[in-house]
């Protein structure tokens, strides 16, 4: 799991220009760290041969 360090959190805030008050930062940092498990999984999966879903209401060919 990725660790969302204080430095990384500050960089993310600068990049997104999201105004998160200082007293909320630990909570956001903790929640982001919890989500980092999913993000790490997405990072590590090799999906290079897979097309993303772009047509969400597609019927199966034989449906």
């Amino acid at each position: 799991m990725k660790e969302i360090t204080d430095d990384l959190m500050q960089q993310l805030l600068q990049f997104t220009e999201l105004p998160i008050p200082d007293d909320r930062l630990p909570k956001v940092q903790a929640e982001l760290t919890a989500a980092a498990g999913w993000l790490a999984l997405l990072d590590h999966l090799d999906l290079s041969e897979v097309e993303p879903v772009t047509h969400f209401s597609a019927a199966w060919e034989d449906a």
Partner: protein, 463 residues
């Protein structure tokens, strides 16, 4: 008239034969809302005047021989996420306080065209982003949550405050409240029902659909709101679902059961109830086949890899201009969603392809008509708690509710949740019946057969 025994089907029969008037029926539901709803607060706005005016109009039309069909004169609630022209629509958020849209959501327009009587707006988790609908209580146990995000709709149906309600489902938000309140919830195929005028949470995963007391009623409402809509590019020009054969029985139908993912460490009462329900389906003549779908392990990464950035994109302005008006849990998730990279989002959409193909393979390989599975991993939780616990095992509400539901938001398949029992604590349990895309009638056929052999859907909470 005993409201707790009425269904849309029985009320419609009484209306068309003029034994029951829409005015009498609507008045009875409005009185019941006034008497019962203070205990559960499932409605955020009750449309007393509008409902009575519409009921009088329906009564006059029917008396003049202009009967529109089975929803004519039927009291229905609409989730506060759906626009209703001239009527408060706040999506459960202080940000939209006082908002009155000028047009109806397409599904609301279709309900009105079918002659339905809108009795009020049901409570939603703020912007539909959560699974417990703060402010609403579960009619079976007032100390417990009604699930979410369509918790108001689920609680209102369970408490007999209307005959149908509309919900929306992004990661289970129709099926979860249906299951934990002991009602029927029908998430249709993605693109079957227009989302125009429905406040989005995640545009590629949101599905509006009906919540009712019986499967037959859900089919009636779904048939009324389904169809292509020029206002929603995701809707498709498929033939409307034909539910005429839903009472034909399930002899010879093939029903898949996936155990490794759906039954792993779930609440034992839920496992037992759903296994018993599957046995009932076998007794009714269905062929049960065990299936495996390995990619389901990645469901939560795909679901949240899509929901979080789509929701944060939708609310980017709200987060910068009105963050202080958001409730804490929703604000936190929207903030976190800002930090997902575009590569995460697009890989989640790729992962969705993998999961969708894997589910499709299982249906094709085993010639499945539907799958029968637990709707949730745990029952309604105690209000204020973010965790569920059973047999010494702890799980977050998010995992317990979203994990079994999300696969079919990702795949877009229709999924019908039906009541199938109670925990030893008296909390309702749901089984979901999942069909192939655009095959809602097979889901309904299995649901009707199950209801004909059981009476879980007839149980009412002690209000």
């Amino acid at each position: 008239m005993n409201i707790t025994e009425l269904t849309i089907q029985t009320a419609a029969e009484a209306i068309v034969s003029q034994q029951l008037s829409p005015v009498e029926l609507t008045q009875a539901y409005l009185e019941r809302i006034e008497a019962i709803d203070p205990k559960i607060t499932s409605f955020v706005y009750v449309m007393y005047d509008e409902a009575m005016a519409a009921a009088k109009e329906a009564e006059a039309e029917i008396a003049a021989g202009h009967y529109r069909g089975p929803l004519h004169g039927i009291p229905i609630g609409v989730k506060d996420l759906c626009d209703t022209a001239g009527v408060l629509t706040e999506a459960g958020s202080a940000i939209l306080k006082g908002r009155i849209p000028t047009t109806d959501a397409t599904l609301v327009k279709k309900l009105k065209e079918a002659g339905a009587i809108l009795v009020g707006k049901t409570r939603t988790h703020e912007f539909a982003f959560g699974g417990f609908t703060p402010g609403t209580s579960n009619p079976w146990k007032l100390t417990h949550v009604p699930g979410g995000s369509s918790g108001g709709s689920g609680a209102a149906i369970a408490a007999d405050l209307c005959l149908a309600a509309i919900g929306t489902d992004t990661g289970g938000s129709i099926r979860i409240p249906a299951a934990v309140n002991g009602t029927v919830g029908f998430k249709p195929t993605f693109g079957r029902v227009s989302k125009a005028g429905v406040y989005p949470l995640s545009w590629s995963l949101d599905h509006p659909g009906p919540m009712t007391k019986t499967v037959e009623d859900a089919a009636l409402v779904l048939a009324a709101i389904a169809g292509w809509d020029s206002r929603d590019p995701n809707t498709v020009k498929q033939p409307l679902p034909d539910f005429s054969g839903m009472a034909d029985g399930i002899k010879g139908m093939t029903i898949g059961v996936e155990r490794r993912f759906f039954f792993d460490q779930i609440h034992p009462d839920i496992a037992q109830a759903v296994n018993q329900a599957i046995a009932v389906l076998a007794d009714l003549g269905a062929v049960i086949k065990e299936v495996e779908i390995p990619s389901l392990d990645f469901v939560m990464a795909a679901e949240f890899g899509i929901v979080m950035p789509e929701a944060s994109t939708i609310h980017q302005k709200n987060l910068r201009q009105h963050a202080d008006l958001l409730t804490e849990d929703v604000r936190l998730w929207l903030e976190v969603g800002e930090f997902f990279l575009s590569t995460h989002y697009l890989k989640a959409q790729k992962l969705r392809s993998v999961i969708r193909a894997d589910i499709q393979r299982a249906y094709q390989e085993h010639q499945l008509d539907v799958m029968a599975l637990p709707t949730t991993r745990g029952p309604a939780s105690v209000q204020g708690s973010m965790m569920l616990e059973w047999e010494g095992y702890q799980e977050s509400i998010v995992d317990a509710y979203v994990k079994p539901s999300a696969p079919f938001n990702l795949s877009g398949q229709p999924s019908l949740s039906v009541p199938c029992g109670f925990t030893s604590d008296g909390l309702p349990i749901g089984m979901q019946i999942v069909g192939r895309p655009f095959d809602e009638p097979s889901c309904a056929k299995v649901g009707v057969a199950y209801q004909s052999a059981t009476d879980w859907h007839k149980q009412r909470p002690p209000l």
